[in-house]
Structure formats: structure tokens, C-alpha cells
């Protein structure tokens, strides 16, 4: 229903709010009660002097009667209606509802906005529980250990005899697993306590940006087009982000756009051969800086590379300022990375290319080719520190070549199980690595 046909409804609402009878208002406005009744039921158009008189009597501006509720209120109500469309809200009467019951409409719109905010918070926290490498790895480890203890202890508690060799094995297993559980649970509680004290529950700007980049797979078609305005895109894509996060996103988009202009998609595609990409060879072929090539490779649309490439960028202090993790090579959200990463080797030897085959700690033990280089992040100024920035491109490969031994690396010390690592800077919340004891032969059947 068009808005200008609801003036009568608003007059009626305002009259009721003012505690006036229809006859009383009609008398003061010098019209008949039956005519006012027609107006209030939107059966007669109203304007001019009569509208001004009624507004004066009702002590409101005439525009309140003609324009009704604010557009933002109507828009919020439409969003609420769309979100709960199954309930059959009368969409064609939103304007009438907002005009006749502006207070209740405001309450509904506010409640809807509040619900959306809370749902987002829950989603963020839930997502974090699932994807935070600290929590996910620690909880998985704990639950697996608990499962082994529970099952083994239940066997030992059964009435009847268990073969002596199995009884010894089960006692040993329970002892080992309970020790692992005690250490990992204490470490997890310490981690959660620390996180609560330091306010880690709130999403940091980098974390917000990571979520936006991850959702897009780090590829933004708009940035491949000439003349794109990174600030506008950041404002659009990051509309829900905090102001600091949008600033970070804008800087990332700006660099992405410059990279795309210098190395357009078709040039990169033409230079790519089959198999895993080598950013240093590509840089030479394209006459571009290796760091730029790495950024381009990590932000290519899906399907161009045999497998998506990961990317970590750290600043001169070693802080990770860009993360594109891979499923089998997570990158820490809050901590510094593993000191063994080629990223840091490159940071210590600026401008020198570093390539290593690495296997990250974890259950999957997949192999990656890690290419790293440190290049100036800002113009070099005599007498001032050179602000180098290191890039590390992660390319999944089938397995380490026999003549190229793989380097075992971690994600961050906190979730790395290699307790004897010389680069360790703090204990792992996972506790010591499993003893690696092989299971005995099953009483019937065979085990690998």
C-alpha cells in the first residue's frame, strides 16, 4: 500500500494516543464525525488546510501525518519480516503497522537488530571453537585420550579374568594416557584462563579481516579489474567490520589491486606451467619481484593452480600480518609462527630466496614446498631501519623427493607436540608427544 494513502491511519493513531474521541477531533476541526471516520479509514484523501488543522490539534508536525515512520524503521521491519517469512508477516501492511504503532514497531525493529547481533556473536564464538587451532587440537587430543582411558578402564573393571599379558598392557595404557590427560587438561585450563584475562574473546582487527578474506578464498574478482577503488570495495565487503579492521582490509585490497595491475591474471596464467608453481622461476620469467608473485599465486581464483597455495607474511618484528592458511597447514591466529619456518630464515637474510620442503606437525603430515623471501616493505631511507617484510608461499606437493629431505616444522609452540624441538619457546598445551607404542597383536586377527 503506498505510503501517502495511510495518512488517515496515522491521524487515527495520533488521536487515540492523545486520548481524543473521533467526534471531539471532528468538532475542533470543523468537520463532521462521519467525514473524519472516512479519512481515518483512508477512504478520503486529505491535504491542505484540513491536514494542517488536524496536525495542530494533535500537536504534531503535518509531515508526521503524511510521511509516517522513518525509512530506517521501515527497512528494519522489512529485514525482520524477511528473516521470519515463514511466519507470514503482512508485508503489504508494514507501512501501516509502523505508522499506526510506531512505538511497537520500534521495539520490534530493535529486538530484531539485537537478535542479529547476538546470533553473529554466537556464530563467531562457535566458529572460533571449531577453527581455533589451539582449541580444536587440544580438545581433540583430550577426547581421544579420554576415550582410550574410558574404554580400557571399563575392560579392566569387568568381572572375570583377562589374559595376563593384556591386563599388563591395559594397565600400562591407562597409566600413560592418564598422565597425558592430566598434563594436557591443566595446560588447556591455563590457556583458557589466560585468554579470558587478556580479552581474547573479542575479535581483533586482524581476525576480522582474516574471516573476510577466508570467506572469499582470498580471491577478489573486482580487484582484477583496472580502475577499481580499493577503499570502496573495503567499505562494501567490510561493512560489518570495525573501523580498524576496515583500514587493514583497505590496505590489503590496495596492494592486491597494485599487484593485479602489475601482473594481470592472463600474464600469470600464461607463465604457469604444469605442476606445483615455483614463485622464483615465475618471478624471473615475468620480471617481477618474488614477493609480488607469491601474493598473486595465493590470491588466484580457484581452479588455476593444481591445489590452492597458502601464504604467510610477517613484518620486521616477525608478527604475521597476512595469513592464508591451508587445511593441513594452519597458521596461528595470535601467536608467532614456528621459528623453523623458512619465513623467518628469509627474514634473517633479506633478498635471498629460500625454498624448503616442510612437513607440519599434526596428524595428516602432508608435505609442502615452502618458498620464502624478504623484501623491503617501504622505501629504503639512509639512516633509518630497513623495513623488510617476509613472504612464505606454501605449495602442497605429493611427497619429499629422496634427495631433498623434508624439514619438520610446527604451527606454533603452544600446539606443537615436538617437546624436544631446539626452537621451542614455551611448553605445548598438548603435552608430550605420544610414546608411539605399537599395539600388540589382537587376540584374533591382525594389526598393521
Amino acid at each position: 500500500m503506498p505510503r501517502d494513502t495511510l495518512t488517515g491511519s496515522r491521524i487515527r493513531e495520533r488521536r487515540i494516543m492523545a486520548g481524543m474521541k473521533q467526534a471531539e477531533l471532528a468538532r475542533e476541526a470543523n468537520i463532521s464525525a462521519s467525514y473524519l471516520n472516512l479519512i481515518e479509514h483512508n477512504r478520503r484523501r486529505i491535504g491542505g488546510k484540513l491536514l494542517v488543522d488536524l496536525a495542530r490539534i494533535l500537536d504534531v508536525e503535518p509531515t508526521v501525518l503524511t510521511e509516517g515512520a522513518e525509512a530506517t524503521l521501515i527497512a528494519a521491519l522489512r529485514e525482520a519480516a524477511a528473516a521470519r517469512s515463514a511466519l507470514g508477516p503482512e508485508l503489504d501492511r508494514i507501512d501501516e503497522f509502523a505508522g499506526r504503532f510506531p512505538g511497537w514497531a520500534g521495539v520490534l525493529a530493535d529486538a530484531y537488530r539485537r537478535t542479529v547481533t547476538l546470533e553473529r556473536t554466537v556464530e563467531t564464538l562457535s566458529d572460533r571453537l571449531t577453527h581455533d587451532p589451539h582449541l580444536a587440537a587440544a580438545l581433540h587430543e583430550m577426547l581421544s585420550t579420554v576415550t582410550a582411558i574410558r574404554s580400557t578402564a571399563a575392560i579392566l573393571a569387568e568381572p572375570g579374568d583377562i589374559p595376563a599379558d593384556w591386563q599388563r598392557r591395559f594397565h600400562r595404557n591407562v597409566h600413560e594416557d592418564s598422565a597425558r590427560l592430566a598434563e594436557s587438561s591443566q595446560a588447556l585450563v591455563r590457556f583458557l584462563d589466560t585468554a579470558a584475562e587478556t580479552g581474547d574473546a573479542a575479535a581483533a582487527p586482524q581476525e576480522q579481516v582474516d574471516a573476510v578474506l577466508a570467506e572469499a578464498g582470498h580471491a577478489f574478482a573486482a580487484l582484477e579489474q583496472p580502475g577499481v577503488e580499493p577503499a570502496s570495495l573495503a567499505a562494501e565487503v567490510g561493512a560489518d567490520l570495525s573501523a580498524p579492521a576496515r583500514t587493514v582490509l583497505e590496505a590489503i585490497f590496495g596492494r592486491h589491486a597494485r599487484d593485479a595491475a602489475a601482473l594481470p591474471l592472463d600474464r600469470i596464467e600464461a607463465a604457469l606451467g604444469e605442476g606445483a608453481p615455483d614463485p622464483f622461476a615465475l618471478a624471473a620469467a615475468l620480471d617481477a619481484s618474488p614477493a609480488r608473485v607469491m601474493r598473486r599465486l595465493a590470491t588466484l581464483p580457484e581452479g588455476i593452480l593444481p591445489a590452492p597455495a597458502g601464504l604467510a607474511i610477517c613484518d620486521r618484528a616477525g608478527a604475521l600480518v597476512y595469513r592464508k592458511p591451508l587445511p593441513d597447514f594452519p597458521l596461528p591466529l595470535f601467536d608467532a609462527g614456528c621459528p623453523l619456518w623458512p619465513l623467518y630464515a628469509a627474514l634473517g637474510q633479506p633478498m635471498r630466496p629460500v625454498s624448503e620442503t616442510v612437513v607440519p606437525a599434526g596428524r595428516t603430515r602432508r608435505t609442502f614446498r615452502a618458498h620464502a623471501v624478504a623484501e623491503p616493505a617501504a622505501p629504503l631511507v639512509p639512516g633509518r631501519p630497513a623495513l623488510f617484510e617476509a613472504h612464505m608461499l606454501l605449495v602442497p606437493v605429493e611427497a619429499a623427493a629422496p634427495d631433498m629431505p623434508a624439514l619438520d616444522v610446527g604451527t606454533s609452540c603452544r600446539i606443537c607436540p615436538r617437546e624436544t624441538c631446539p626452537a621451542r619457546r614455551e611448553p605445548s598445551i598438548l603435552g608430550p608427544a605420544s610414546s608411539g607404542a605399537q599395539p600388540p597383536e589382537a587376540p584374533a586377527g591382525a594389526a598393521d
Binding site: T130, H140, L143, R150, S151, R363, T364, G445
Partner: protein
């Protein structure tokens, strides 16, 4: 000779406990700890049922199951997924991959045994 069950799980002490329990029920239990060649192992063993962990070295249980289900020989193979994660999202993934049953860690031994009986009894 009893029926054969392949247990694909990387936690040695869980393998020991489950192997012990199922072997007492008459199952011949074989175990395998690596996700990368788990499908080859199933092809070689051709078990009557499989217990499959979700988080395995090299490859996830979801990928393994999806590849098995793509082969006519294993379309109806009873497979129970065992995971430390029991969230709805994981259940959905398991169902999309074609799982027969889904069980979360930690479990009671009686629950696990009952689930295996139901796994092979199901039409």
C-alpha cells in the same frame, strides 16, 4: 570363522581396546592407522564392516568414505564413523559422505558394541 572388521584409527590405545572387545564378540579385527592408503586397505581386506576415525594422518575419514562409496563394491559396506567431534556440522559431513552410523568419542564399550551389532544387522 567370524566376520572381519577393519578398524581405521590412529590412536594405538583405542585400537587395542576396540580390538580386544570386538575379538571377544567373534570378530576378526584388523587395524590400519594411516588415512592415505586406507582405501587400498579396504580393497585388499574386503571387510564385512569398517570403523573409521575422522581425523587420520594423511587424509580425513570423510574423503576416505566418499571414495569408498563411489565404488560399487563398497556402496553398501557398513561403515561406522568414530570421531572426537560430535557437532552437527560433522554429522552432516559424515551423512553426506555416506556413513552408515556415527559415534562420538568418548563412548561406553557397551554402546560401541551395540552400535557394531546394529551396523551389521541393518538391512
Amino acid at each position: 570363522m567370524g566376520r572381519e572388521l577393519l578398524l581405521i584409527e590412529d590412536e594405538p590405545n583405542i585400537i587395542e581396546a576396540i580390538s580386544f572387545l570386538l575379538s571377544r564378540e567373534g570378530w576378526r579385527v584388523r587395524s590400519h592407522s594411516n588415512g592415505l592408503d586406507a582405501v587400498d586397505k579396504v580393497r585388499a581386506v574386503r571387510p564385512d564392516a569398517v570403523i573409521l576415525d575422522v581425523m587420520l594422518p594423511g587424509r580425513s575419514g570423510y574423503e576416505i568414505l566418499a571414495e569408498l562409496r563411489a565404488e560399487p563394491d563398497f556402496r553398501d559396506l557398513p561403515v561406522m564413523m568414530l570421531t572426537a567431534r560430535g557437532q552437527n556440522r560433522d554429522r552432516e559431513l559424515a551423512e553426506q559422505s555416506g556413513v552408515s552410523r556415527f559415534m562420538t568419542k568418548p563412548f561406553a564399550n557397551s554402546e560401541m558394541l551395540e552400535a557394531v551389532r546394529a551396523l551389521v544387522a541393518a538391512p
